[in-house]
Symmetry: none
Subunit: 210 residues, 4 copies
DNA sequence: GATGAATGAGCGTTCATTCAT
DNA sequence: AATGAATGAACGCTCATTCAT
């Protein structure tokens, strides 16, 4: 029956939660498997029924947390878009960026965990449930489609935006260096808007691609 | 006499070199203190006469390596500037950026080591010998002084450029994702030029600050 | 009904087969109970319904495999004896020995398993189905009865032959040391014939025992 | 100075002694490294400064113990030979065999340890200090040289004798099966004498080889 | 009877750290 | 100052055994 499957899922979940807590509290390298298990109220051996090692659990967590952040942001965006008729790609992306900054502000440990462990490979594969599990690049594609502008090198563009967002927030939110987050925000958004413009196709190219 | 001081420096140096080799070859977590000592042809116990633990050595190394990279770049810039009369800040910064990218391309292990361990605190304190040990922010200040343009929020501007450079190079050089470095280069430089423009003071502000 | 008994026997059998495979493939110490069960397509817990531990299974296997070897040899001997009128004890024993050597040559892993785990207690109790489950010593008694010679200390004689056979074949077949099996064979048979002669009663003793 | 080397030798020795005790008391498989260390009054980690694992220690022990047994026997033989003018090869070998049987009788655990772990490769390489570290096959060669008889296939002959000795003593001394050791002794010696005769070259061959 | 999730003792191994030399 | 033998805590991991289902 499904009860046993349910219990297993709960155990896996408990291990994830336990690991997340310890990873953010004391770092991955300083967290041992037996601690993860004990913190999840299990025997050490039980850990190995569900994960190969702590790096497997880390990878699961990174993917999940990045997913949550992006889904949260995307969800808010969708709600907002329902109220607005005019849809502007740039604004949407800026909206996502601001939302993500807010999430990072709320949970600096999350930022720390994500920033140090998220690779582009994982990020570009994040799936959004609201969009039939299409991945995060599809989200941008969809947004860009509704626009009357055309963009070249879309993946590179997104990559640069994401990396700039992540990298600049890290020191600013965690160590308030070299400025406070509120001070960074405006210029970060400006920079991102410039990146978007930089990848916009010229009118000639726009026509060609049309 | 200074001979004893010399010997001490040599030992410290040998440990740094040994550690750098092992850190880049197999990673910091996988390198043990006894390995560092053995590789430096010393007894394990001697290590503790010079460093507290391997993280102290790591921090020394990060600062030194970042310094070398920046000094290299700056040195090349100075040589070039001696041949040229016209001095343009933007071009200088782009020159530094390109030079640093080239150094990363030459030594991806260096990039890996630096990118994962360099914090803004360390970076902004890098000292340049050619400039009487003034730090790296002073370098930019000097460059910006020679320009006829005025910039606001200089440290933030540099911060954003440095982080963008580091963060985007990481995946691209080490994992060729999402594009090749040659593909990234042009757009990265464009983006940095835009960041510079974004921080340029308007003419009114220029006058005011003058 | 006997169906339940049948199923039980089948399970026990499946575990034996599974264990034999793993024991010979990777050794007893390196084989775990859960592997034996999985290889027999059962759950781990089921193992304990049939055997106490892997050593119980090993003992069952040693007895069975030794039995098979001896039964095989004995079966061939009987077939041969039906065609021959003249029956000579020495020749019969040599025939058995040669047959067993051939079986070992065919399956060195079997030799390895048997040689390291067979004790005299187990061997002397091997039962032969063709002979109404009489044990292996009875076989020799029967053979010796048909002879016109008399032997003293029959069990000791058999013991020495069996141990010499086992012990000398081990290194020779498994590691080809110090000679090849073909080189050993002739002298081993000679030695066994000498052992048989050595235990023959003198004519006076023969008469006495008659 | 040599003091430190001395201490190291003492530690290695202490580990060997400790391991031997535990191996014979409870078997190799049932002995753990931490037990060996604790029994030798050391920390667990110290074990690894001297041996790779318990199998390395086992191999050292087997070689050493086999060496001791053989050297003991050989030493007694030499003492005896000094008193006797007439030297007979057969008698010498029988003397060695009897001496070894006596050693096994005195220490059944030694027999158990040796019999289960001594391979022909190790045995044939045993070195005798009294003979300038020449190995055990050289001993036999020397003995055989003094004889007026010639033997073919000397290594095979020794192999068969050694294996017969080992294999038959095992059950008899440890489990008193199928007879007592005193009962085995006479027939074992007879059998060995027969093996020696069997490998004697015929008179024709003797002349040829001369 | 059969299952397999859960346990936790115990393994081999590593390694930062100490300290007598 | 320099050594490296010694330590023992802590690690990752395995596995026989139990027991609720």
């Amino acid at each position: 029956m499904g009860k046993i499957e349910d219990k297993k899922k709960q155990k896996k979940e408990a291990l994830l939660v336990s690991a997340m807590q310890l990873f953010t509290e004391k770092g991955i390298a300083e967290t041992s498997i037996s601690e993860i298990a004990k913190n999840a109220k299990m025997a050490k051996g039980t850990f190995y029924l569900y994960y190969k090692d702590k790096y497997e659990i880390r990878d699961h967590l990174v993917a999940r947390k990045a997913n949550e952040i992006f889904e949260n942001a995307h969800h808010c965006l969708r709600e907002k878009l329902q109220k607005v008729t005019e849809k502007n790609v740039e604004d949407c992306i800026i909206y996502l960026v601001e939302n993500i900054i807010d999430q990072f502000k709320e949970s600096p440990v999350l930022l720390k965990f994500i920033a140090k462990n998220l690779s582009w490979g994982v990020f570009s594969n994040i799936r959004i449930r609201d969009l039939d599990n299409r991945n995060c690049m599809d989200v941008f594609d969809e947004l860009l489609q509704y626009s009357d502008k055309r963009y070249r090198q879309k993946e590179l563009m997104i990559y640069m935006i994401v990396e700039l967002l992540n990298a600049t927030c890290y020191n600013v939110i965690l160590y308030h260096m070299p400025v406070e987050i509120e001070r960074l925000k405006d210029d970060l958004i400006l920079a991102i808007q410039n990146i978007l413009k930089q990848f916009e196709c010229s009118e000639v190219e726009q026509l060609e691609s049309a």
